[in-house]
């Protein structure tokens, strides 16, 4: 058995080697390419899973990178190994699913190489304990997401969506980089465990800047308020990529960052309230937007944003374990939902739910697995999403302000409503799809069935999962890390918060059932729906920022005439200014 340090290196290096191999295999030999992609993805998954029994709370593997860069070290504790396993295993299933989905597409070398590169970077991001390298991996995931969202690079919408994702996550990258540089300035190294152990020794204002910088980083990466607009636009990507970004990589990084540094930032004034606010606002807003959307993938994207809001809210309320437990549930059921949505879209060649309907009889397997995923999303007993969402609501009830709890409760009701809506629109009612509709292909089934089984069963390991996360998830409100599964589940099931939440969820379901009778209410809320269709004005803000930047560039163009005399003049003036500063500074 290789040591944990070797395994950590392997779980990054195997996907990256695979990326190179797939790239070199080129497009002339698709069979070889598929074997390589699936083989390397699965091998990376095996390496990550092999880390589980050897996890440790100390740094492993040290390789000096020279001067200011510090050391290449890994911290494979429960939290990091858990996310590495999610990235590689769910990522492998997305690769397998792609065999059917991407059949016949051009440039598959680029596709599979980027997917494997993405998975390896995500593993590096969660395992690395050098904050500067965390930033480097963070940026690599941003690049990969950009390149994969714009995979159909002859489609202007896809290109625009990719650039949007890149720009928005860069804003977050600045927050992370600022935090990392501050840490180096005050601690003298980028080492994360040293920082977590001695965070209080930093000046409080420095710690506050880091805490809020990391919150910005996490919000941008996890598509939280006010950066939530890039994720729904990212739906232009091939559907397995959506599953990858939503379930395995990318958006989990923001939640990971908050969970990892929660112990250090817990005491920073207003930080927890800010985190709760970001989560609650996002969860509710995205749920409302999911109700009015008619694009199947867009509904799922809004639901991801909303569920990530729940995780962020849980961290703010002190429930690191609850957030990670929901992350586990969400990864499984959202990958399932996206891949089954991919099977549907692949069959009917449209994403518009108004053109689907009545697909249940023609796609029986897809219907069954997608309904399982939908039950989890809506938080209906007893699938995994129910337990984790109820745990979050319970933690929030104890650790967060009352208004936020009511917001989250309303979000849960709306989630049930839009979940029932999209299932009904896709699988029931009058068929609208034209032409032949076929059920999912064999490779799709290989990816869908394990995810469906996982959705039905992952809650059974709640207690083990709490022990597995260990110190990283301990502390905070309303959770004891070392409880058994039974005790944990009994605690959730008997909490008053659960009962209230179930009532709200039932009300949400009834609301859709009785929508004809509630049409008066729906008309009254038409204004909200119109706002939601316009992204609550956030697109207008984005356009404004883009317009202002372009306008500023245009007006500054006059200073760049390309005439040598002016450039020399500017150099001369710059020289004089520098000399003046030096002369005054020296005096």
């Amino acid at each position: 058995m290789p040591s944990i340090g070797t395994l950590a290196i392997l779980s990054i290096a195997i996907p990256w080697t695979g990326a190179l191999a797939v790239w070199l295999a080129r497009d002339r030999r698709p069979a070889l390419q598929h074997v390589l992609a699936v083989g390397f993805a699965l091998a990376g998954g095996v390496a990550a899973v092999a880390m589980i029994p050897q996890r440790t709370e100390a740094n492993v593997f040290g390789a000096a990178l020279g001067s200011a860069f510090g050391e290449l070290t890994f911290l494979p504790d429960g939290l990091a190994v858990f996310l590495a396993v999610v990235a590689t295993v769910i990522g492998s299933l997305a690769v397998i699913f792609s065999l059917d989905y991407m059949r016949g597409e051009r440039q598959q070398a680029r596709y599979y190489a980027l997917v494997l590169f993405f998975i390896g970077a995500m593993v590096g991001l969660v395992l690395s304990s050098n904050l500067l390298l965390v930033f480097v991996f963070w940026e690599i995931t941003a690049f990969c997401s950009y390149a994969l969202i714009s995979f159909y690079n002859d489609d202007p919408k896809a290109v625009a969506a990719g650039i949007k994702a890149l720009i928005m996550t860069q804003v977050g990258g600045i927050g992370l980089l600022a935090g990392a540089l501050l840490l180096y300035a005050y601690q003298g190294s980028y080492d994360v465990p040293t920082f977590l152990a001695a965070a209080t020794q930093l000046p409080p204002e420095v710690l506050a800047v880091m805490a809020f910088g990391f919150l910005v980083a996490a919000a941008a990466k996890s598509a939280q308020f006010p950066f939530q607009t890039w994720l729904p636009d990212a739906m232009e990507a091939p559907t397995p990529i959506s599953a990858l970004i939503h379930a395995a990589t990318m958006v989990n990084a923001g939640v990971y960052l908050l969970a990892r540094f929660y112990p250090a930032f817990e005491a920073v004034p207003h930080w927890r309230l800010a985190v709760i606010t970001v989560g609650a606002v996002t969860a509710l807003m995205a749920a409302v937007m999911a109700i009015v959307s008619n694009d199947l993938k867009r509904v799922l994207a809004h639901s991801t944003v909303s569920q990530l809001g729940y995780m962020v809210y849980a961290i703010g309320a002190g429930g690191v374990f609850a957030s990670q437990f929901h992350l586990l549930s969400h990864s499984v059921f959202k990958a399932l939902l996206f891949l089954s949505a991919g099977a549907v879209i692949h069959a009917v060649h449209t994403r518009d739910m108004r053109e689907m309907g009545g697909l249940g009889r023609r796609m029986p397997l897809t219907r069954v697995v997608m309904i399982i995923g939908a039950l989890a999303l809506a938080g209906i007993p007893i699938v995994n999403g129910f337990w984790s969402k109820e745990l979050i609501l319970e933690v929030g009830h104890e650790g967060g302000p009352a208004w936020a709890w009511y917001v989250m409760l309303a979000g849960a009701g709306l989630t049930a409503l839009y979940t029932l809506r999209f299932i009904t629109m896709v699988f029931y009612g009058e068929p609208h799809a034209k032409g032949h509709v076929h059920d999912a292909g064999p490779a799709m089934k290989v990816a869908l069935v394990p995810l469906a089984l996982g959705t039905l069963t992952t809650w059974l390991i709640a207690g083990d999962f709490a022990r597995f996360l260990g110190r990283a998830a301990a502390g905070g409100h309303g959770e004891a890390a070392a409880e058994s599964t039974g005790a944990l589940l009994a605690q959730v099931a008997t909490a008053p918060a659960t009962l209230v939440a179930l009532l709200v969820i039932a009300a949400g379901l009834c609301g859709y059932w009785q929508r004809a009778r509630l049409s008066g209410l729906a008309r009254a809320l038409e204004g909200v729906a119109v706002m939601a269709r316009h992204n609550f004005g956030f697109e207008a803000i984005n356009r404004g920022i883009v317009g202002a930047t372009a306008g500023a560039a245009e007006s500054l163009r006059a200073t760049q005439p390309g005439i040598l005399n002016w450039n020399v003049m500017a150099i001369l003036v710059g020289l004089v200014v520098v000399l003046a500063i030096l002369a005054l500074g020296g005096a």
């Binding site: 005439i563 040598l564 005399n565 001369l572």
Partner: protein, 103 residues
């Protein structure tokens, strides 16, 4: 008042740099730009030799000056070759007329 030799050289350095810079500031002809650059570089070279003398490391100054001579020759040869091509293709050496960034 008599100037010492280093002071005289320093005046020459400032003079050469000033003349070259003034040339770059006012001329629009590509050939004259190259000439102005050459004048400036000669001032720089003289400054290196002077610095070597003042620090007692004449060899270092001379070696640097030789390196600059090589680099600078290549730069002017390439620049003049460009000038010939530009003149042939666009019919002018006026930088302002050649600029495509203007509005």
């Amino acid at each position: 008042m008599t100037l010492s030799l280093p002071a005289l050289v320093a005046v020459a350095v400032v003079g050469l740099l000033g003349i070259g810079l003034a040339g770059l500031l006012v001329t629009r002809n590509l050939i004259k730009v190259v000439v102005g650059m050459q004048v400036m570089v000669k001032g720089g070279m003289l400054a290196m030799v002077l610095a070597g003398h003042l620090c007692g490391q004449v060899q270092t100054g001379a070696a640097l000056a030789l390196t600059v001579i090589v680099a600078d020759t290549i730069v002017s040869v390439v620049a003049l070759a460009f000038a010939v091509q530009v003149r042939r293709r666009f019919g002018t050496l006026d930088l302002q007329a050649l600029s495509t960034l203007r509005r």
